[in-house]
Structures are given as structure tokens and as C-alpha cells.
Point group: C2
Chain length 197, copies 2
């Protein structure tokens, strides 16, 4: 009987969730089967249920752990005594780094949350909506201060968040530029598009 290997401070459930992220990213939530996941973990499908409640629970865990990281970060940034452009830049850099370093989870949270079931679904959508409003509020502040061009703030948010999710393509491309170069390029283009002359 081959047990799931664990290291210090990493529960078997964590192992499963991590593998699930990889699989969900690769095939999509619906197309990834529990038998696929079991194989990736090195165990029979039924054995997974000693550690998790359901397939959907895996999606909850992934979606909300990602969402919480972003919420904490925006809390932090809002409180800092810096100007709007700096806030936007900091938030963008955080998004970029999350997408680079926690690719699978962030991607899954971004693309597969549709398959959450209520009440988690409404909950997640709510958090998302609120997060974007707070992001937009930072931009609107910058517009009032004339730091930022007169643009529609929600549209700007939408552009930036989706642009960053494009890092997916970077991960899969064969001729990658370095992560640092990627970050700087993205900041140049995105922040460059906001600044008022």
C-alpha cells in the first residue's frame, strides 16, 4: 500500500489540493476526474475521500485561498501613505508575482470558479465584485488628483486584471523571457497607459 508522501507541515490534504490545482488548470474542473487526480497522487480514487469531502471542496479551497490573499493585499495597500499610481503599481506587481509563482491555483481560481455551487458561488462573485470596486476606487482617486488620465476606472481594472491572466501564455511558451523582465514589461505597458502625460 503506497501511502501519500508528506513532508513536515504538509498534510495529505494539502498534497491532494496542490495536485488538484495542477489538474484543474490542465484539463478544466469538469474534465478532470477524481480518478485522474487519484493517479496523480498515487492512490486509488476512493482513498481520496479519507482526506476530502468532495470534488467541489477542492475547488472551494483553491478559489477562496487565492481570493483571500488578494483581499489581504489590497487591505495593506489601501492603508499605505503613497500616491495612487504607486498603489496601482504595487497591486499590479503583486498580481503578476502571484500569477508567476502560484500559477496553477490563481489560474484555476480565475477560470473555474463558475463551477462552484451556491452559496460558495455567490460568495465568491461578491468578493470579486467588491475587490474590483476597491481597485477602481484607487484609480478614481488618481484621476481626481490628475495623476491618471481621464478614463473609465472599471474598464481600466478589467483590462489590467485580464492582461495579467495572460501570464498563462508566458508559462506555456517555449522561449520565455525571465520572470523579472516579464514583470517590468507588464508594468511599463499597463502603468504607462494610465499616467497622465
Amino acid at each position: 500500500m503506497a501511502r501519500i508522501k508528506t513532508e513536515k507541515n504538509i498534510s495529505r490534504k494539502d498534497v491532494i489540493v496542490t495536485k488538484a490545482a495542477i489538474l484543474f488548470r490542465e484539463k478544466g474542473f469538469k474534465a478532470a476526474s477524481m480518478r485522474d487526480l487519484a493517479e496523480a497522487v498515487g492512490v486509488e480514487a476512493a482513498s481520496l475521500y479519507n482526506h476530502i469531502k468532495s470534488k467541489t471542496e477542492l475547488l472551494h479551497e483553491l478559489c477562496f485561498s487565492v481570493a483571500n490573499r488578494f483581499l489581504h493585499k489590497i487591505d495593506e495597500i489601501e492603508a499605505e501613505p503613497i500616491n495612487s499610481i504607486e498603489k496601482v503599481e504595487k497591486l499590479l506587481r503583486f498580481h503578476i508575482n502571484e500569477m508567476i509563482n502560484h500559477y496553477e491555483e490563481v489560474y484555476v481560481s480565475d477560470r473555474e470558479w463558475k463551477h462552484l455551487a451556491d452559496p460558495y458561488l455567490s460568495n465568491f462573485q461578491n468578493q470579486r465584485r467588491i475587490y474590483r470596486k476597491r481597485f477602481a476606487a484607487i484609480i478614481e482617486n488618481g484621476i481626481r488628483n490628475k495623476e491618471i488620465k481621464k478614463i473609465d476606472a472599471p474598464t481600466a481594472v478589467l483590462i489590467m486584471l485580464h492582461a495579467i491572466s495572460g501570464i498563462e501564455s508566458w508559462h506555456r511558451s517555449t522561449q520565455k523571457i525571465s520572470a523579472e523582465a516579464l514583470e517590468e514589461n507588464m508594468i511599463t505597458i499597463l502603468v504607462g497607459g494610465l499616467i497622465n502625460k
Copy 2:
């Protein structure tokens, strides 16, 4: 027996493909069942097979019809005697309008192509790769002419294409700005981020 209603120049197959796009966008390709589709069309599931070969065929049709539209457009734009920034702007405006006016199809082609089966899959990925290279080449030209900032062209392409796919959120938002305003805002930010001073 309730037949599928058709108008002039619209085959029953077209009706099915169009409804499929809506459904695939809403639920994802895997999660949308042929019985769902049948209900949307107003017919029994088995009846669909008088008009189509398989569920996957629907995905082919959608993905490649979208891909072809973009390929034609870039052919056209490459041939025009205008500068690089103008070419980028034209291409972006086309993408934006496609995403606004053919939302369902474009979205499905963008997000669900993973579920294509070979040889269609490799084919589609190839077309996509080539398209992006051609887009990047336009930008690289602009950099050489000093019209465009010194940035990594593939990264710029990736940002723009993904930013545009964010129009998805616009479609679903309750307080939409007008389509025209959306287009202008996107162009302002995205092209603004490219221009060299």
C-alpha cells in the same frame, strides 16, 4: 413535432451552432450537455444528430470560424500602407468589436479550445501561435521605427489579447458603459501604454 425554426439563409445547423456557443460560454464545453443544447433548441437530443456529426464538431466550427476571421483581418491590415501604431490600433479595434458583437463565439474559441481533439487541436494551436507572431512582428517594426517604446513585443501582444478578453466582464456587468465608450477607453489605455513618449 416541433421543428427547428429557420429563416432565410440560416440552416438548422447554424441555429444549433449558435445556441451551442451560448451554452458553451455559459457552462463550459464539458459541462454543457447535448440534452441541454437540445432543450435550448427545442428538440430531443437525438434529433440534433440529423444536423451535426458530434458535440466536438460544434466546437471545431466555433473555434475555426473565429480564428479565420482574425486571420483574414490581419492579412488585410498587414497590407495597408499605414504606420505600426495605426496597424496595432486597427487590429485592436477589430478584436474589441468582435468581442462586443460576437461575444459568445469569440469567448468560446478563446477559452474552450483545449477540448478540441487532435488533429484540430494542434492545428488550432498552430494558427494561434502564428497569429501572435504576426501581431508581435507589427509591434517590433514599430519599436525599430521608434514609434513604440522598447518593450518585449510578445509580452505586449499577450497583454493586449488578454485585456480584450476582459470584455467578458463588461458583458455581464449591470452598469455597462456604452460599447463605444468601452472601445475608446481600451484603446486609450492599451495604445497609450505603447507609444514612445
